[in-house]
Assembly symmetry: C2
C-alpha cells in the first residue's frame, strides 16, 4: 500500500468528449454544495447528517491527504464529484472506500461512470488492496448497477438500514472489489 | 427509534458477584486508557489510528449523547469498557453499533459477556431497529463467539481487510442483529 504517497493518476483525465476529472480545490466547494445539498435532502442515497450546513457539508466531502476529492468538469461547470480514501484508520487503512455524486442536472450522460472508473483506477494507483463500500442503498439501482459493472460484488445487505425518504426502510449493500 | 432520549437501563447493573456496568464519566478515561492503549498496540482487534495519544484516544472512545460509553467496574477497578451509538448519521441512525474492550488483566471472567449483554439491552432500550458491527476481526474468536451467542449473524467477511500484527492480513466480519 502506498496511499500516503502522492500518486495522482491523470490529474486532467479526458473522459468522453470534453469531460475532465481533476482534483477538487477549495474553490470548487461552492459549486459542489448546491447539488450535494440537493442530493442529501432528497433522502434516497446518503446517510449524512440531516442538519448539514455548507460548512459542515464541506467537512463531510472535501477530503485531506491521503484521501482525495475530485470533480468532474466540463469547462467551468462542475457536473459531479467523488471522494476516496482509506476505509478505516491504522490496521484497516489498506482498503479504500469512496463516494460519488452527480449533479441532478447532468445525470444519464456518463458522468457517474467516469467518476466510478476514476475511483477504481485511482485507488489501484494509490496501492489499496481492495475497495469497500459500506452503505450502498439497495434501491439506488443506478449506483448498484454501475459498481457491479465495474467489478464490485454485493457482499451482504443489511436489512432496513436506510430510511429512504419515499420508500421507508430499505437495505444497505456492503460492496467490495479486490484490486 | 428514540436514541436521542435518555433511556439508561440499569445504570448500576449488577452482573456476576459484584461486577457493575455504569455510564463512564470523564474521570474514568485515565483508567480506561492504559488497557485501551495496550489493546490497540497489540494490533489484533481494532483498526484505530496507530499514533493514538491519550487525548486522541479519548475522542475515539468517550462518546457523547445520543451515543454512550460505559465501564464495567468492581469496586474502584475498571475491568472493561464499551461504547454504543448510531452506526450512521441521519437516515442510517436507527441502526446501532458498538465496541467493547476488556482489560487484559481481567479477561476470561465474564466481563466481555456482561458488556455484550449490556450493549444489546441498552440498544434495544434506546429504540434501535438493529445493531451492526462493521469490522469484527475474524481471528478474534472470543468476540465472534460472544456475538454469535448473543444473537448476531455474520453477514459477510471482507477478505484481508485487517492487518493483524502477528497473522498479517485477515478478514473483517460484518455482523448484524435485528432488535
Amino acid at each position: 500500500m502506498s496511499n500516503e504517497s502522492d500518486v495522482s493518476i491523470e490529474p486532467a483525465e479526458p473522459v468522453g468528449s470534453d469531460l475532465r476529472i481533476r482534483p477538487a480545490g477549495a474553490e470548487d466547494w461552492p459549486l459542489i454544495w448546491p447539488f450535494f445539498a440537493r442530493i442529501v435532502e432528497a433522502g434516497q442515497t446518503y446517510a449524512y447528517p440531516l442538519d448539514l450546513t455548507e460548512e459542515t457539508g464541506r467537512g463531510w466531502w472535501m477530503e485531506e491527504a491521503p484521501a482525495r476529492t475530485v470533480v468532474a468538469v466540463r469547462g467551468d461547470t462542475v457536473l459531479g464529484s467523488a471522494k476516496m480514501g482509506p476505509n478505516r484508520p491504522g490496521r484497516g487503512a489498506h482498503i479504500g472506500t469512496a463516494s460519488f455524486m452527480v449533479s441532478p442536472e447532468h445525470t444519464g450522460r456518463g458522468v457517474g461512470r467516469a467518476l466510478g472508473r476514476h475511483i477504481v483506477d485511482q485507488c489501484r494507483a494509490d496501492g489499496y488492496h481492495g475497495i469497500q463500500f459500506n452503505a450502498v442503498v439497495e434501491t439506488n439501482h443506478a449506483a448498484v448497477a454501475l459498481w457491479l459493472s465495474l467489478g464490485f460484488q454485493i457482499m451482504a445487505t443489511i436489512p432496513e438500514a436506510f430510511n429512504h425518504r419515499e420508500r421507508g426502510l430499505v437495505g444497505l449493500h456492503v460492496m467490495y472489489q479486490k484490486l
